[in-house]
């Protein structure tokens, strides 16, 4: 019997840590340079900030060096052993049969250096139990072969029917969503560095030019409208670009009780998710996709690396025809049938609650216009109140729940529709909550929570009459049984 070999990570680990720090710090560097070039001369405090940041960066690399020097691992016949830490030493042993998922991640820089990350998950909900960043490709292949062979992940069988997404599908998927919010946050973040020049430019150039053509109030509205359109347009383009980059070459294959997913243009991701670990399936329908008969499918499992995905769940497919979604959900939960669901309604009092909430939002929006257009902001209130009423009514029509074929289903969302399906036997615990106003109206929310590490995996039904909420809560745990649920 050959003795297991204790190995270190690749020396590129130090370089990758330095690169990560630089990437995080890059925004600040660009902002300060921009402020200096386009502003009224950089404030000395900003250059001090840069120098301090650089010093911190040097110190940030030191832990990476220590990690490289103190991190070793070995694979024995039945376990993966990891030693790490300098002052707080840790020795972690992961039995191979406990391993649920092995993911290999290759970024652009990592590919150039010939290295990649191998992340190992068990059923625990606390993220990766072992993160081997970085090792060579050959070492990653060896690890994957050994770990998947001896773990609870079945061997890859010959490919069966796969779900793929071509470039056209990805562009469509990106085009039917909009990440304007991210653009907005980026601009707000940049604004603090370029405040004065930006305000000067906007008031002295843009508005002055606009006021040559139209009256002052209209100038504000037109420029504001163009800015809003600009945000939305850039957000739309950004959505297309990021979707194509993240899902290029997308392939989802069911194989021996496991879903194997491959995707990514620059950062290539290969992951295998055991079907029995999936707790909840969710269907998202952004409004444009819904109009064209498409949707996005997510699955929430007990542990996931993909914290960048929506709610921490695994995005099963970027876009799929709703009529074909049943083929994919039936792979995970054969008994689940999302067609012909008889949705039960929540309390009609939710219309009043929704209306009051949206009115409050309308008041806040009108208040934000006050500094710009003063008393004329009040003219925005009536249309906003009318929209609030119709939005509240629409929300009530959409809100619903159902128990069907051993599943608890919920539906919500006006703009973007959400449908969640949770097998009742996977419910770990339930909660019934009431806020101050719900207590007075005798209403309650009910949540059913599976063995999931994220909030997104839970199914919540809001504004139920208290008696019905209590009945649902009691029946859920009674029907859930006492299985471990993972």
């Amino acid at each position: 019997m050959t003795m297991p070999e204790r190995k270190r990570l690749h020396p590129a680990t130090i370089l990758m840590a330095a690169g990560k720090f630089g990437k995080d710090f890059l925004f600040g560097i660009v902002a300060v340079i921009g402020a200096t070039m386009f502003g009224k001369g950089g404030d000395r405090s900003e250059w001090i900030f840069l120098v301090l940041g650089g010093a911190i960066g040097v110190f940030a690399i030191i832990p990476a060096i220590f990690k490289y020097l103190n991190f070793t691992y070995e694979i024995t016949n039945d376990s993966l052993n990891i030693w790490s830490g300098l002052f707080f030493k840790q020795n972690r042993t992961i039995p191979l049969e406990r391993i649920q998922n092995v993911t290999v991640k290759k970024g652009v820089i990592q590919n150039l250096l010939g290295v990649c990350s191998v992340m190992i998950e068990t059923a625990s909900g606390a993220g990766a139990e072992a993160d081997l960043s970085v090792v060579t490709h050959a070492e990653a292949d060896r690890l994957v072969q050994i770990l998947r062979r001896d773990s609870s992940i079945p061997a890859e069988e010959s490919p069966s029917a796969a779900f793929t997404a071509g470039l056209k599908d990805l562009i469509m998927a990106g085009a039917t969503q909009n990440k304007a919010g991210i653009i907005f946050i980026f601009v707000v973040g940049l604004f603090q560095y370029v405040q004065e020049p930006a305000i000067d430019f906007f008031t002295k150039r843009v508005l002055k030019n606009a006021e040559h053509w139209v009256a002052s109030t209209s100038a504000y509205l037109i420029v504001g409208g163009l800015l809003l359109f600009g945000f939305l347009f850039v957000g739309w383009l950004w959505s297309i670009v990021t979707t194509v980059i993240a899902y290029y070459g997308f392939r989802l294959e069911p194989s021996a009780g496991v879903l194997r997913i491959r995707r990514g243009l620059f950062t290539q991701l290969q992951t295998a998710v055991p079907l029995h670990r999936i707790q909840t399936v969710r269907m998202h329908e952004p409004i444009l996709q819904r109009m064209m008969g498409y949707c996005v499918l997510f699955a929430d499992s007990a542990a996931s690396f993909e914290d960048k995905q929506a709610g921490g769940a695994i995005q099963l497919i970027p876009m799929i025809r709703k009529s074909n979604a049943g083929d994919l959900t039936s792979l995970i939960f054969p008994a689940l049938n999302l067609a012909d669901v008889e949705w039960q309604k929540v309390s009609p009092l939710t219309v009043r609650r929704g209306f009051i909430r949206y009115c409050f939002t309308s008041l806040v929006l009108s208040g934000m216009l006050l500094p710009l257009v003063h008393a004329k902001a009040l003219f925005a209130l009536p249309p906003l109140l009318i929209i609030s009423w119709f939005a509240a009514k629409k929300r009530y029509e959409v809100l619903g729940y159902a128990t069907k074929d051993g599943f608890l289903l919920s539906r919500s969302g006006i703009w973007k529709r959400y449908i969640s399906a949770l097998p009742v036997d996977r419910v770990q615990w339930t909660a019934r909550t009431q806020d101050f106003f719900q207590t007075r109206l005798n209403l309650a929310n009910v949540s059913a929570v599976p063995a999931s590490s994220t909030m997104a995996g839970r199914v919540e039904i809001v504004d139920l009459p208290l008696e019905i909420a209590s009945q649902i809560q009691e029946s859920l745990l009674r029907d859930a049984g006492d299985a471990a649920g993972v």
Partner: protein, 178 residues
Amino acid sequence: MDFDIAPTPAPAPFVKPVIDEGRAQQLDPKIKRVWQYGSLIGWGITLLIAGPFELLILRKGADWNIYFPIFTPIVCISFALLGWWIADKQYRAWTYALTSHELVLSHGVVWRSRRCVARGKVQHIDINSGPLDRRFGLVNVSIYVAGALGSVGSIPGLTPGRAEELRTAILVGRDDHA
């Protein structure tokens, strides 16, 4: 030299502790003091940290004739007193019950919550205590289920003996329900 060594007595048969199954139990009344002093200490620390900030930062742009930085002290003292006052209501609202199938935790004054955890799903239970809890001889019991980050519920204000009884009752009872 011979010693008469008494035979080792047979171990007593294990008797599952009784936790008044099904009946809603209240916390130990001393938990009110823990919450009250906790509120004072927490907001006191916040005042010590945030107060000087208000003095130093806001002072830059403020006219001392009109504005004196008392906002932070007012907020901190108000919330500390609110925490003191609401402790009694919190205590009366907090109950736990162990039924044949589940552990039920009910609490909350303004936001009410009733959380049910199936006994068979409990993976492990922690008993922990902070310095204030120890000062009053109390502990917290935290319940963990599969897959969740952190505990799904925590019962404060139990005596150590009561906490052990509850833990044993749930974990032993869990095997009965597995």
